[in-house]
């Protein structure tokens, strides 16, 4: 019987305490961000999809087509091709295709690169109805940026 009264008393007290807590929260400012109006800033290490790094002087990609990133990729989303131009020591990049639909943003490609040619972009709001939009031509992207 004591449990019965105890349940009623302690129970009612706990219920009132609960109401007090939510009431206090009611008057506190909101903690959410209204997304399209307040855009959060990405941290410096944020991993968007990868992008090519351009040489500071020439503006051409740093990539020498060693294929290390392609081999390191767990999900086969990188296809690249290059050709050796006349009078140059290194190969130059002609095509760098990223299939972002398969990418898991693990960063293996960036780590595998020994020539400072790849980095993560800061793009996070990509969306499309078309699957082809996510097969990204990074060479073209770099040219557009320049």
């Amino acid at each position: 019987m004591s449990g019965y009264w105890n349940d009623i008393l302690v129970g009612s007290k706990s219920l009132v305490t609960g109401l007090m807590i939510t009431a206090r929260e009611f008057f506190k400012p909101v903690v959410t961000e209204q997304y399209p109006y307040d855009v959060p800033e990405m941290t410096p290490l944020f991993r968007g999809h990868v992008e090519l790094i351009a040489n500071e002087e020439t503006g051409a990609p740093n990539c020498i087509v060693c294929m290390a990133c392609q081999r390191a990729c767990p999900s086969d989303c990188i296809t690249l091709a290059g050709e050796k131009k006349e009078g140059e020591k290194k190969k130059s990049l002609t095509q760098y295709q990223l299939d972002f639909t398969k990418c898991s943003l693990c960063g293996s490609c960036v780590e595998a690169c020994n020539f400072n040619a790849l980095q993560f972009s800061k793009e996070y709001n990509l969306c499309s109805f078309n699957k082809d939009d996510f097969i990204i031509d990074l060479v073209k992207r770099l040219e557009d940026q320049n």
Binding site: T22, E25, F26, K28, V30
Partner: protein, 330 residues
């Protein structure tokens, strides 16, 4: 011209408008209230602070198709949502909003109200049963046992009020409490009724939460157990009517609590009584409904029945005895 015809029609229109606005905007209030409690903004996009949200929701629901599942009982399935709405609107007819604003003053209006309120649970039963969905059937079964368990303490507390006021007319009950908060049934000074009437008020309030199927007693809806219970198979306005019915039931519950316990349209300090006091009181109560819903987890059906049979019913029986005793002695 004979005004006696126009008066009821005007009141009916007024009630329809009141019911419609409440059904639409309580949804918005609930979402805003929940948002504030959870420290987010709630609806913001449609209109200023999302004020047009009910309109948008209404248009969306109206333009959708009412699907009747193949295993369902077609007639009952369509009737149930309407049944959820009608008793709530009908109940508003006998509610005295102020001394003069009452569509129909009846001698036995309390009895009528409770008779009609039971039909609202019929809607849940029929909707759940007719859906032919197993979750809905469980929900219907829960709704019946819950309704049964909570009608009893609710009516027992109402008996206390009837004994004190000596009337079953809601208007007379409210008139009896005029003249400041010390005349209200909950704090009534004469005959020392305040000693136990606040318990009756709490019992009545808990029961009205249970009767209106609100959290933490939303056993029939229980979205994380029974998906949405009786509403699982409803789409379009079928769903919309259930939602509106739920909010209107809250309004009726709040009106009833105000009339029975909180002095109806009386000002707490005994001055300038009027309809605004009634409105303020019912919205405070409605806010409490919302506040409670967004604070507690849901109870479980057997714990809920235990609460009713083991705690509320004994307490309300004792209350009836005490009322009789105090009336007789003092």
């Amino acid at each position: 011209m004979d005004t006696s015809i126009w008066r009821p029609i005007l009141y009916l229109i007024g009630i329809m408008v009141f019911a419609g606005l409440n059904a639409a905007y309580l949804g918005w209030c609930e979402r805003k209230g929940a948002g504030r409690i959870q420290r987010r903004t709630g609806p913001m996009e449609a209109g200023y602070e999302g004020l047009l949200q009910p309109l948008a929701d209404g248009i969306k629901l109206l333009t959708k198709q009412l699907l009747v599942p193949s295993g369902a009982d077609g007639i009952l399935f369509r009737v149930a949502p309407v049944l959820a709405m009608i008793p709530a609107i009908t109940s508003l007819v006998v509610i005295p909003f102020s001394e003069n604003i009452q569509a129909r003053a009846m001698e036995l209006s309390v009895l009528l109200l409770f008779a009609i309120a039971s039909i609202a649970m019929m809607a849940v039963l029929l909707g759940g049963w007719a859906s032919g969905n197993k979750y809905s059937v469980i929900s219907a079964a829960r709704a019946v046992s819950q309704n049964l368990a909570y009608e009893i303490p609710m009516l027992l507390t109402v008996i206390c009020i009837v004994m004190i006021s000596g009337s079953m007319n809601l208007r007379d009950i409210a008139m009896d409490q005029q003249g400041g908060f010390w005349h209200w049934n909950i704090f009534r000074l004469d005959n020392f009724h305040f000693l136990y009437m606040w318990v009756a008020f709490i019992i009545f309030f808990i029961c009205s939460i249970a009767e209106t199927n609100r959290a933490p007693f939303d056993m029939a809806e229980a979205e994380s157990e029974l998906v949405a219970g009786f509403m699982t198979e409803y789409s379009s306005m079928g769903f919309g009517l259930f939602m509106m019915g739920e909010y209107l039931n809250i309004v009726v519950g709040a009106c009833l609590t105000t009339t029975l316990f909180l002095g109806g349209w009386d000002c707490p300090f005994g001055m300038f009584p009027g309809v605004w006091w009634f409105i303020i009181k019912i919205y405070i109560l409605i806010f409490t409904f919302i506040w409670i819903r967004w604070t507690y987890p849901r109870t479980q059906i057997y714990k809920l029945l235990n609460l009713s049979w083991k705690i509320l019913i004994p307490f309300s029986l004792v209350n009836v005895l005490l009322t009789a005793f105090f009336i007789k002695v003092f």
